[in-house]
Symmetry: D2
Amino acid sequence: MMGIINGKMFIDRLNRLENEIWLDGEKIEGHISEHPAFKGLLETKRSLYDLQTKPGLKDQMTYSLPGKKERAGLSYLQPKTKEDLKRRRKMFEHWARHTHGMMGRSPDYMNTVLMSFASSAAILKDRDHCFPEHVQALYERAVAQDLSFTHTFITPQVNRSQMGVNVSPAPISAKVIEKNEKGLVIHGARLLATQGGLTDEVLVVSLPKMYFESDEAFAFSIPSNTKGVKFICRESFVLGKSSFDYPLSSRYEEMDSIVVFDNVLVPWERVFYYDNYDAAFDFNMKSSFNAFAFHQVITRQIVKTEFLLGLAQTIVDTIDVSEYQHIHAKMAEIITGLETMKALLEKSENDAETDEWGYMRPSVIPLRIVSAIFPDIYPRFTEIIQLIGASGMVTLPTEKAFHSDIRGDLDQYLQAAELNAEDRVKVFRLAWDLTMSPFGTRQTQYERYFFGDPVRLTSHLYSTYPKEEQAAVIKEFLHIHK
Amino acid sequence: MMGIINGKMFIDRLNRLENEIWLDGEKIEGHISEHPAFKGLLETKRSLYDLQTKPGLKDQMTYSLPGKKERAGLSYLQPKTKEDLKRRRKMFEHWARHTHGMMGRSPDYMNTVLMSFASSAAILKDRDHCFPEHVQALYERAVAQDLSFTHTFITPQVNRSQMGVNVSPAPISAKVIEKNEKGLVIHGARLLATQGGLTDEVLVVSLPKMYFESDEAFAFSIPSNTKGVKFICRESFVLGKSSFDYPLSSRYEEMDSIVVFDNVLVPWERVFYYDNYDAAFDFNMKSSFNAFAFHQVITRQIVKTEFLLGLAQTIVDTIDVSEYQHIHAKMAEIITGLETMKALLEKSENDAETDEWGYMRPSVIPLRIVSAIFPDIYPRFTEIIQLIGASGMVTLPTEKAFHSDIRGDLDQYLQAAELNAEDRVKVFRLAWDLTMSPFGTRQTQYERYFFGDPVRLTSHLYSTYPKEEQAAVIKEFLHIHK
Amino acid sequence: MMGIINGKMFIDRLNRLENEIWLDGEKIEGHISEHPAFKGLLETKRSLYDLQTKPGLKDQMTYSLPGKKERAGLSYLQPKTKEDLKRRRKMFEHWARHTHGMMGRSPDYMNTVLMSFASSAAILKDRDHCFPEHVQALYERAVAQDLSFTHTFITPQVNRSQMGVNVSPAPISAKVIEKNEKGLVIHGARLLATQGGLTDEVLVVSLPKMYFESDEAFAFSIPSNTKGVKFICRESFVLGKSSFDYPLSSRYEEMDSIVVFDNVLVPWERVFYYDNYDAAFDFNMKSSFNAFAFHQVITRQIVKTEFLLGLAQTIVDTIDVSEYQHIHAKMAEIITGLETMKALLEKSENDAETDEWGYMRPSVIPLRIVSAIFPDIYPRFTEIIQLIGASGMVTLPTEKAFHSDIRGDLDQYLQAAELNAEDRVKVFRLAWDLTMSPFGTRQTQYERYFFGDPVRLTSHLYSTYPKEEQAAVIKEFLHIHK
Amino acid sequence: MMGIINGKMFIDRLNRLENEIWLDGEKIEGHISEHPAFKGLLETKRSLYDLQTKPGLKDQMTYSLPGKKERAGLSYLQPKTKEDLKRRRKMFEHWARHTHGMMGRSPDYMNTVLMSFASSAAILKDRDHCFPEHVQALYERAVAQDLSFTHTFITPQVNRSQMGVNVSPAPISAKVIEKNEKGLVIHGARLLATQGGLTDEVLVVSLPKMYFESDEAFAFSIPSNTKGVKFICRESFVLGKSSFDYPLSSRYEEMDSIVVFDNVLVPWERVFYYDNYDAAFDFNMKSSFNAFAFHQVITRQIVKTEFLLGLAQTIVDTIDVSEYQHIHAKMAEIITGLETMKALLEKSENDAETDEWGYMRPSVIPLRIVSAIFPDIYPRFTEIIQLIGASGMVTLPTEKAFHSDIRGDLDQYLQAAELNAEDRVKVFRLAWDLTMSPFGTRQTQYERYFFGDPVRLTSHLYSTYPKEEQAAVIKEFLHIHK
């Protein structure tokens, strides 16, 4: 038992793992924390973990484990009161503010996922091929060692047709290909492990879907350096290390990866469930996973939206366009989105109720509303920033240009109403990195699909929303008896 | 002192007033409560006032006046705690549910306006041409006698150009044309008094605007039957008295009118202020009028939105279209609007603060957000109902057809998946009356402009929203020091 | 053989038919042309037919029948050249301008449908249960007598679920219930015969749909007064006969009706086809019906859009709001819609090609684009008129008010920047009748669904559009060989 | 006189100029055609010029100069007939197809600008400080030598407030600071010269704006290597030279630059006009510049839209999502945009009229409609591609990964319904480069602002559109006489 870690401990432990990571056709060798594609992000993660031990913040970021002298990250706290919920939300805000909401997989996210799993593990009790005690054990180990995780929920996008049948004889989507005394043997791939290879463990959970086959209905967590596990990265979006040129991507570029399982043995004590479609369905739909995960995610998205609002306003000030009605309308869109999200988050806390296992679960409807609108409004907000910035978004010199013989020209010709040329370029480069760089456009796509396919989210919102009472009012009004 | 009235008292008092009301070129003679254009509405108002004395509801609808045995309508209560605010909101909900949110000028609305004026009258203290004591006196008289009001805030739409100058030598917009020892003499017209002539008094308040002239900066309240006051009605939208054919307009058609002041003497004790532009501005912008009025209005709009959701869902069930994704998307729009409004209203109560005069004022930002979105989403929701109803919205027979020889044909050919022909037609006629009848389209236009010109509302939201903190975060992040 | 008729001939013939029409629970007795619900419309139709014999217009409205001395309506002309097409379009414009595009079922529409049927009748040749010669015969009779028609394409909206099964033992949707030596016996109902009962004949054609049963696959035309045919009207939207108060509905209110077939015998010589699903499908999908009908409809919709633009501009001038950027944006939307439609219509003529039977068929893609956008933009344009008119749309006095003692007040207080009070009220009443009256909202719904369910139209546009060439460019660019 | 050049001649001449270009703080030395940031683009330009001499194409790309044996680029042809216009358009299509519409400044664009200037030079005749003969001389020189140009129309974005006053004592926006016997002396900067430094000459024209000062009202063209002219580039968006990884940016990345005029002497014979506000206004508003330039631009944008449609369809096929209604709706949006643009372009040609100087000028209204919608629909189309591509847009390995030990994994796990893994990744990398790379997002911003500020474009469309006739119809209909 050691409790919370600090940044150095995180980095050292990660470097020791020597996970198998492939980038641009090469296997990463040496300390991952020193690789140009990961260095900036890992620096940021180091500083995030350091928040846990920072004097003024420690109490807000951690809690005492009952009966122990160690403290644990507050994101592991299983909330039993509305106060606990609000405490959790404030802790999320600290994590999120430190990265301005740009890091989708800050540690509190995955810790919250783990916490929700442990809090709902009882769903698996007494069911075939289910091991709720393994969920609990993982949770306890994670708390004790402040482990970091990535997860992969989705399968390769071979064919999205409902009737689509995979023709490949070998597995594409990761499957159980063997069960033996030691555990399950998994072969195939899973998609979109953000920060894959940059965490201690990898959590694999199947989201039920139509035409789900039982050999895909499993969940487990294993160390990232388990034999046969490979992380294949997309191209890095770190374009350079200058924080002047790339204020966001130099710091917050989380990598996304494909996780390949090459005949990977998952020991039994790591398995949560397998070969049980109903259990997989219930674990996803009835657990507190959605409620708790959304609570974290939306807190982060609010912080991010505040950052966008601040940036948009800074551009308005910089080029002095605050007199135009169409600018007001665009700014009001961001304000409306932000305040709406804040109100809905708060309502989810106010309407929280204790679930059947004694945990205080945020009301999921207000959170689901946010999950249905954010995929639309976030891209729109980035577009608004481009529309306000207009032609100023394009002709942006680099840091090196400001340190060259043409600095005088830049100073004169790029000055703004409210800022000198260098500061003005800083502002616009930030706007560019947020909305037009590979980092920025990936952020947009990421927020768009964070909660899954928006079309299905909308159908789900409709079908789960209680409408009967409202319809009954109509029938009563019209004296329809049925 | 008599305190709350019931429906009969309201009707009798109104009939006695014999206000001068013109409709379709004729002056209304006889009891207004029996006129076909007003009968349905006044029946509804009667039943609304009866809510105040209804046994189970009385406690929720009224409060004890300190030191008196009479009770007053709760909408007159000056809230001092958040509990008071929530109590007020529940009372609004009772009024609104009784009319499904279709009556914009239910008594609680104007009572709330009066209450906000009294609660902010101190703004007028010690200023030229200002009489805060008259505001207080009106409030007390209103409470004591449970008076009903209409108001007129806007001026004739002669010319909306900013530079537009009225060329008429005689006043168009109502103006002070004389001051004498008895009071002010007012001449000219004011617009859009909803339920004008159907209330005890008419409250006239000038909203400051650009190029505001000081002879337009006044506020007062006078009895509706004051000599020289005329109410000129638009065409009535009561198309018939059948509640089968016109379930809404037969009951809820509030009239709108132009109020003409023909050399009307307003006694000094009725004047709140005159000839003081700054006072008029402050009274509108700094008083609690917006906060309290929005609190009532939005509560009503939420109830109305619930009704729309119920109706939309009833149509979905009736013709069995719940399987279509585009139907889900449309229904999800209504759900999202409804939940957003509810969350924002709740936030305005949670964030309420005591104002400088000791009253618990709802936070105005969340309410202003709703005021900026409802003018867009309400019309969209009516469109969604039309889109779901599709061709079924058009070919709708009348009640009389169901009582004729072709009933058998109607029963057979208009039956629906879930309902018999008569009930199905009821549902669609309701949808028609809500969205396509003159009553329905007037409701749409009314909600669109309830809070004023949406373009200006948006600009106002932007300019009053606190954005500095967010912009400061950006400058700190970029190390811009200014 | 008599050729074109004039207005009086149309009215006289119609009155003689004594069709069975039910309105508001009563069977219409006496001359239909004198009934208040139909009088205005039939007056308008009379004046439309008179255009055919009007000296200056006759050449543009009619053509010489080869080898005969009579002339026929130009809408019956089977076009063989692009010149013919343009000539037809100009003739459509004359009809449409006379009613400002407000009459969906002006005679040229149905004549065009008949012409397209005759021009494609060869599709039915040598197929089971098909009688192309009856189609031709009807066409010739229609030309010779200048017959008028209504049609019914759709079936009762009992259940729109794809899997929905009618549970009624008796037919709801009109079906063939017997075949005998005289003809088919039809029982059941069809929907939405606009001007049902107000024409010489009723044309019944089945649009193929999913789960189409063969006893619904028929087409025929019979006189409106055939025994057993009943027209059940919706409520009339004629609110009054004053053209000041109701400038559009007093003149252009086409009625919609349910057509009931009560064991109606359709003589064999009237039957086009029956009990042949494939023929029904081909007749709808491969005939020139869409191309020619869209050509007429879109010409009318363009004229209507011009009228809306003119009205919107008149309001802008009336209240002098031309300086506002948001007004420009709204007006530009209408302009863009109008010019887009004009360009697409023109392109459909320029790209016209001779079909397999020798007729010059307009290119259907540009027309289909219009059919996909007009259901969205027409409602938006009516909304724009409401948004520009704002509060001015509501408080509108009637003609009688202008002829009463309060005329002086109206003249003073309703005057506008550019117009006197009476003219200003005329303008706004027109705007109201176009967008907010029962007539106006029915027009909106009518245009929205004219071409069918917009969701399916969109899918149809996508699936029929040739995209292969564009996709091939991509593969070539990427050197993908497949 | 030499007439058309080929690619090699273009490159050689450009290398010889040794323009002063600054990139990332360094002055470009050596052959510009070999610099990594420009090499790909210049290769593409070389191949474009080679189209002019390509056997099968020569006739379509060039024309015989009257009385000379040399040929000139067809984009220089001053059209006198509609046939000339169509010939020009087909030539534009050749240029555009070669680069799939990705090169905004293909040579035909600037040639067209020059041609329009020459065709309208008569506007400047007999006006103060105007030299129409210099315009003509430039045109003839350009034709004779097949010169290439960039232009700069806009001024630095210091302050966009209407009332904004520059506080800098030294010029920011380029100004005439001296007139002497040799010419004008210009000092200051101009913005957004796309391909600045990569052309023979730089054309400087002032677009009139509010608060335009007369020392900014000038126009001229000078060689790019004129003493004192500097091009300051933005960051290069060439991320690598692999056409697998960056299929578009490796080939089509046009640079944008700030042009600095450091006391630059513009010889009199190069000056078109100066110090004449009215002439500047007329030259921009009444010349054929808009009509001819839009004709070229929109032809290119149509080709680009076809490319987007092809790509979107390829993605639909690749992951087999063609069954979904929301996919149809998205694809139908692109189809509608494309067909609308094509119809409007064609209408501009059909409605072309001979202008006062004898040239066949395309009708500008249909083109202006496109210019008002393309800034909205192009970004939407890129969003649609992202929405169809979904999560597949993110996890994309590089070319090198396909040539490494993990190729087997990629082949298995990235295969698609219709394509093998490598081809699928090609398709998605193209989608990424078009919509999410720095190149792609710059393209989006470029198209958004190509025609100027969209808000002003809309106001301009409204104010220049002829609406009187439509408004007159309304007055006639309502019998309003004014």
